[in-house]
């Protein structure tokens, strides 16, 4: 059963979508239950995946670094005098993608429960929702660059419509902006993909015919199966505006994934998308879609171009640091709770850039852990923001005060997740940041001052979280509209059902982070050492 497990996890929601398609439009509850069942099954499958993942594997090269590998021929096109083009359905996971898949399946389940009291054409909503879940999980498991790119693009449409149709007042603008930002990013990735596949050949397949077979498999690209005079073959002398073409390709990938991450100069789509998206979709947007950007850095940018990565650690770290500080400062200036949380996500995502740029095991481990812990924390934060929005239709921090009086349990959860997000030790936020700082200050590629300035980030995040907490939750109970006072009831059963597991997870990961970092440690170590070894190999060429 475990050999086709990955394909099952990826395409199970698609099967369920087909079932939902044939259901009549008005059977809302039945559709919701089916969607819940689908995501629950997906979660169970990913738990099985987690436990049957062999953590002790010590890979030597990328080709045997992946488990649960499934490979099937998909497309083989004849390219004229440039030989053949081979695209195949190639999926597999290593430690990094394993964690991402588990995180996604869990948050997808949370998303379904969070969108339970939705009433506007439910059928369309859940069809798009399940398509989104297929493409997200597929993206994490894909080992073929073309397959990764297809899933990467496949995410845009459902998310565009989910924000566009079920979103808030300015949803049109936000959804278009989200779509265009990400599409521009993906075009950069497309350009690099074309350059790559033209300069890569799969030696195993070329054997039979005499023409070169260009393949898309990431494993081949990472292990350096380049043809002699390809445009992106390591050691090329082709310059593009004075920079080595490989470096240009790496920078294009960085920009593409930085838009998705988002990193500072290209982050302005995130607050708009979050403010307008419905609660469940905000959870997914923050929990999963930002991680695709981070995962892209791990698997594609750092995996295929380690030589460029090693030389460009300094600018990447600077961007990470700016994201942390700038994101924090802008969060302080917001007076909409959801927009503040969105900017705080920008700040937390800066840690991933910094962690990766430090190019050592702690840094990479910290970046990975930060992705997982941010997924849970920001998911919970958006649910909390949604709680207020469902009750009053408004999220302005200045429009409420003294909520602790009216909703004590709710305030308890807000305090837990606010402190988790500002990095209180004992909760999962701190572990990621601690490891990234450890990596950044201990890395021999980065100067000390970058780490020190980033540490100021934890002070800034404490500032805006506590300021929001004090203005909104403490002091006398007051709401801008008199009518809201009656509707400020405390958490309902459904909301509690959502928040308790998230709270337990956040505390558990804070106290014993080795639960998830332990099995994944070999993959991270292999990832860093292999990148370093490859980079020295390429630079020598």
């Amino acid at each position: 059963m475990t050999d086709s497990l990955l394909t099952l996890i990826i395409f199970f929601p698609l099967l369920v979508t087909v079932v939902i398609l044939f259901l009549p439009k008005d059977k809302d509850l039945l559709i919701k239950e089916i969607a819940l069942g689908a995501t629950a099954v997906q979660l169970i499958l990913s738990v099985i995946l987690f436990f049957s993942y062999d953590a002790a594997l010590q890979p030597e090269s990328w080709s045997n670094a992946f488990q649960f590998v499934e490979r099937a021929k998909w497309i083989s096109l004849y390219l004229g005098d440039y030989g053949w083009l081979q695209i195949d359905y190639f999926v597999g996971i290593d430690g990094i993608s394993l964690l991402m898949i588990c995180l996604s399946t869990f948050l997808l389940l949370v998303g379904v429960v969070a969108s339970w009291n939705l009433n506007k054409n439910v059928k369309g909503y859940f069809i798009l929702y399940l398509i989104l879940s297929t493409s997200v999980v597929g993206c994490f498991a894909a080992l073929d660059f073309f397959l990764f790119y297809v899933f990467f693009e496949f995410m845009l449409l459902p998310m565009f419509f989910l924000i566009g149709i079920w979103g808030g007042p300015r949803r049109g603008y936000a959804s278009i902006k989200f779509f265009i930002y990400t599409l521009v990013g993906s075009l950069f990735i497309l350009a690099v993909m074309i350059g790559l596949y033209l300069s890569v050949e799969d030696s195993s397949l070329t054997g039979q015919g005499q023409e070169v077979v260009h393949s898309f498999s990431l494993v081949n690209m990472m292990d350096g199966g380049y043809i002699t005079d390809g445009i992106l073959t390591p050691g090329t002398s082709i310059e593009f505006w004075g920079m080595n073409i490989r470096w240009v390709a790496f920078l294009l990938l960085m920009v593409g994934f930085a838009i998705k991450l988002p990193a500072v100069p290209v982050h302005t789509w995130l607050p708009d998308a979050h403010v307008e998206a419905p609660t469940a979709i905000s959870v997914l947007l923050a929990g999963l879609l930002l991680k695709i950007g981070g995962y892209g850095f791990f698997r594609i940018a750092y995996g295929i171009f380690p030589d460029a990565a090693v030389n460009l650690t300094y600018p990447i770290a600077i961007f990470g640091m700016i994201s942390i500080v700038y994101g924090g400062l802008t969060a302080m200036a917001q007076n909409d709770l959801k927009r503040m949380i969105a900017y705080s996500s920008v700040s937390h995502m800066g840690f991933i850039l910094l962690g990766l740029a430090s190019f050592n095991v702690q840094g990479a481990g910290g970046a990975l852990f930060q992705m997982v812990s941010h997924g849970f924390i920001s998911g919970a934060l958006f649910i909390l923001a949604g709680v207020i929005y469902d009750r009053t239709g408004d999220r302005g921090i200045a429009n409420f005060s003294g909520l602790a009086k009216a909703m004590p349990v709710f305030t308890g959860f807000v305090v837990i997740f606010f402190f988790a997000s500002l990095g209180l030790p004992g909760l999962s936020g701190f572990v990621g940041e601690f490891l990234v700082f450890l990596g950044a200050l201990g890395s021999d590629y980065l100067p000390k001052w970058i780490g020190i300035v980033s540490i100021s980030g934890i002070v800034i995040s404490a500032a805006y979280y506590l300021w929001a907490l004090q203005r909104m939750f403490f002091g006398k109970f007051w709401t801008r509209e008199k009518v809201w006072e009656q509707t400020m009831y405390d958490l309902t059963g459904r909301e509690l059902l959502l928040l308790i597991p998230l709270a337990i997870l956040v505390v558990l990961l804070g106290v014993a982070p080795n639960i998830i970092l332990g099995p994944v440690n070999n993959s991270i170590e292999f990832f860093v050492n292999q990148c370093f070894a490859q980079s020295q190999l390429y630079i020598a060429q």
Binding site: Y326, M332, L441, A462, F474
Partner: protein, 641 residues
């Protein structure tokens, strides 16, 4: 040995357990949690009794980072101290908080604080220490902001946490430096290996400790922390939490290099002196005690700096008792004033006077603890302060830097003065109150009596004069290696006694009941002349913080006219969070970065309009354009080929 192994985790978990139990049913929450804390006290006494060599418990937290606890004599004693004071404070708060609606939340928070404080004391690995260090900071934030209804109190809690957070950032930096430079990462290793830390790491730890123990430049938060309920101030901001910084410095003092120790000594001395001066002119009863705590902490830090860390630990021990006693007595005074009429400010000394006969037990407790604080012989304060003064004197002689001992001696005098002033103003003089309140026997009197008695000398050492006679001294520092031969120097002895007597005399002379100062003290305003102003506003530390934030936001904003137009409008009382700079960045993000995208969208519309303008409906113009481009092509060919 196995008994210790079993009760040790119990000691660790009990406060949390009792906090949760108390939190659930808010009616008898305090009574229930007392049993838990009492049991904890019992276990810690057994632990202190039976422990001979340190126990270590460690497990792998992260790759290359482990999570560990250890218990040795020093922190066993401190854990005992924490349990004792917590029990007394909880007994006291039964009446103090009796008509407060949510006692449950109060007990839960107290339990959480005790749990994290015990955790901090027991932690062995630096990462574990940092974890509980922040948890303690958070619990103090929760407790200061207990009465969150009033915006001022929750604002004070936030600002306290923010200042702590700044210092904790440095501590985190220090911890990471330790990991990266490969130094020993746990206290047991530090004790044994002892390879010296570099100056920068040491400095980071010092700043972290200064932040928690409210030393100079960070002491601003302790006066703000007075916004919390008085039993909380007694427990946290007098006895236990603030000493965490001292405990950390004691632990890492073997590995600190020379100039780090000098920084500690000078920092402690300066803080002690500044706080003592600030305490002279305060009106709020708790503010005086807060500044006195800062000053005594300065003493302890000074003690470590000059190498007399046994004396510092001794002072920490004695200070915990008499300062807790002072705070609880002040608490009962405030409770009484509050019962009288809750309209007036219950903490303002100007409304008090002549409470001697009305609250006899409180008076006697306050008197004994106050005299202990001022350092009179036959009281515990004298013994420990003597040790530190001797240490600083010897240190002064050896290094030739006499600033520290001079400051230490001046502070001794000033301490006696302001505590004498407070006793006279609050308890002597004409009393306008008649209603006699019999303090409830068990909950108020017993803790006060216990603390007063424990401030006497015989609790701590047989010979009232010699500082080394401390019972715990042999127990604690027998295994800590050589202790400097600290015999008491006659000169220092006479000097300290003389100074405290002089301080008390001057206070009596100025504030005796019939003196005209006490007469019009009732309606006296803020002191006019400069020295008075500096002292009243605590050396303008709050203005100092606002200026830092203003400066930082100016640097970030950068634009000259900009700050005139925007920053000045926002700067009024924004406090530590620097909202001002954030508003600037927020505007920048909205219009510039976001604007870029809309700008590109409008550009493409513009080009679109330009491009379609050729598409004029008239056919002849279209043909005209066609022929024009043909002509251009032909010319291109003629000239280029």
């Amino acid at each position: 040995m196995t008994l210790i192994k079993t009760i040790w985790p119990l000691i660790f978990i009990l406060p949390l357990f009792s906090g949760i139990i108390g939190g659930l049913n808010s009616k008898q929450s305090l009574k229930l949690s007392n049993f838990g804390i009492g049991a904890g006290l019992l276990f810690s006494i057994i632990l202190v009794w039976l422990l001979d060599e340190p126990l270590i418990l460690e497990w792998k937290w992260l790759e290359g980072v482990s999570f560990g606890f250890s218990i040795d004599r020093l922190n066993a004693m401190l854990v005992l101290l924490v349990y004792l004071i917590t029990l007394l404070v909880q007994v006291f708060s039964i009446t103090y908080m009796e008509h407060d609606p949510d006692q449950g939340r109060y007990t839960a928070k107290l339990g959480f604080f005790a749990f994290s404080m015990v955790g901090l004391l027991m932690s062995n690995q630096l990462v574990t220490l940092f974890l509980f260090w922040e948890l303690v900071g958070m619990s103090s934030y929760l407790l200061i902001g207990f009465w969150y209804q009033e915006a001022a109190r929750s604002k004070a809690a936030r600002q306290a946490f923010m200042i702590n957070r700044v210092a904790d950032a440095f501590l985190l930096l220090g911890v990471i430096q330790v990991f990266n430079n490969g130094y020993a990462t746990s206290f047991t290793e530090i004790l044994s290996s002892g390879n010296q830390w570099d100056g920068f790491t040491g400095l980071c730890f010092i700043i972290g400790a200064f932040g928690k123990s409210a030393q100079f430049p960070f002491y601003g938060w302790l006066t703000k922390a007075m916004a919390g309920p008085t039993p909380v101030s007694a427990l946290i901001h007098a006895a236990t939490m603030v000493t965490a910084g001292v405990y950390l410095l004691v632990r890492i003092s073997p590995v600190l290099i020379e100039w780090n120790l000098q920084v500690i000594a000078i920092g402690g001395a300066v803080t002690a002196f500044m706080a003592a001066v600030a305490a002279l002119t305060q009106f709020d009863i708790k503010k005086v005690l807060a500044y006195s705590t800062i000053s005594q902490l300065g003493y302890m830090i000074l003690g470590i700096g000059v190498g007399a860390y046994q004396a510092s630990v001794f002072h920490l021990w004695t200070h915990a008792f008499f300062k807790a006693g002072l705070f609880l007595a002040a608490g009962s005074v405030i409770h009484y004033m509050h019962e009288l009429d809750s309209s007036k400010d219950a903490q303002d000394m100007r409304n008090m006077g002549g409470l001697q006969k009305i609250l006899p037990v409180t008076f006697y407790a306050f008197l004994i603890c106050g005299l202990a604080l001022s350092g009179l012989p036959f009281l515990s304060g004298f013994l420990s302060k003597e040790g530190i003064l001797t240490g600083s004197w010897l240190w002064g002689q050896s290094t030739g830097n006499y600033l520290v001992p001079v400051l230490a001696f001046c502070t001794a005098g000033l301490t006696a003065f302001y505590i004498g002033r407070q006793i006279l103003l609050v308890f002597f003089g004409s009393s306008s109150f008649t209603q006699k309140i019999i303090e409830p026997m068990l909950t108020i009197r017993v803790p006060l009596i216990f603390l007063a008695v424990s401030s006497l000398w015989f609790w701590n050492s047989l010979n009232p004069i010699n500082p080394l006679g401390w019972f715990w001294n042999s127990y604690l520092f027998a295994d800590l290696g050589a202790t400097s031969a600290q015999h008491s120097i006659l000169g220092v002895l006479i000097g300290s006694i003389g100074l405290s007597l002089a301080g008390l005399g001057v206070a009596y002379w100025l504030y005796r009941p019939e003196a005209e100062l006490t007469q019009n003290f009732k309606n006296s305003k803020e002191p006019a002349q400069l020295v008075g102003k500096i002292s009243f506003h605590g050396w303008y530390i709050e203005k100092f913080y606002d200026q830092i934030v203003l400066l930082f936001s100016k640097i970030v904003a950068g634009a000259g006219w900009f700050d005139k137009k925007v920053i000045d409008r926002f700067v009024d009382g924004m406090g530590v969070t620097g909202v001002v700079m954030a508003k600037v960045i927020g505007w920048f993000d909205q219009n510039i970065v976001d604007g870029l995208v809309n700008f590109m969208a409008s550009i493409s519309q513009l080009i679109g309009r330009f491009v379609t303008s050729f598409q004029s409906p008239k056919i002849q113009i279209q043909i005209g354009w066609l022929l024009l481009t043909l002509l251009v092509l032909l010319l291109w060919f003629q000239f280029l080929t």
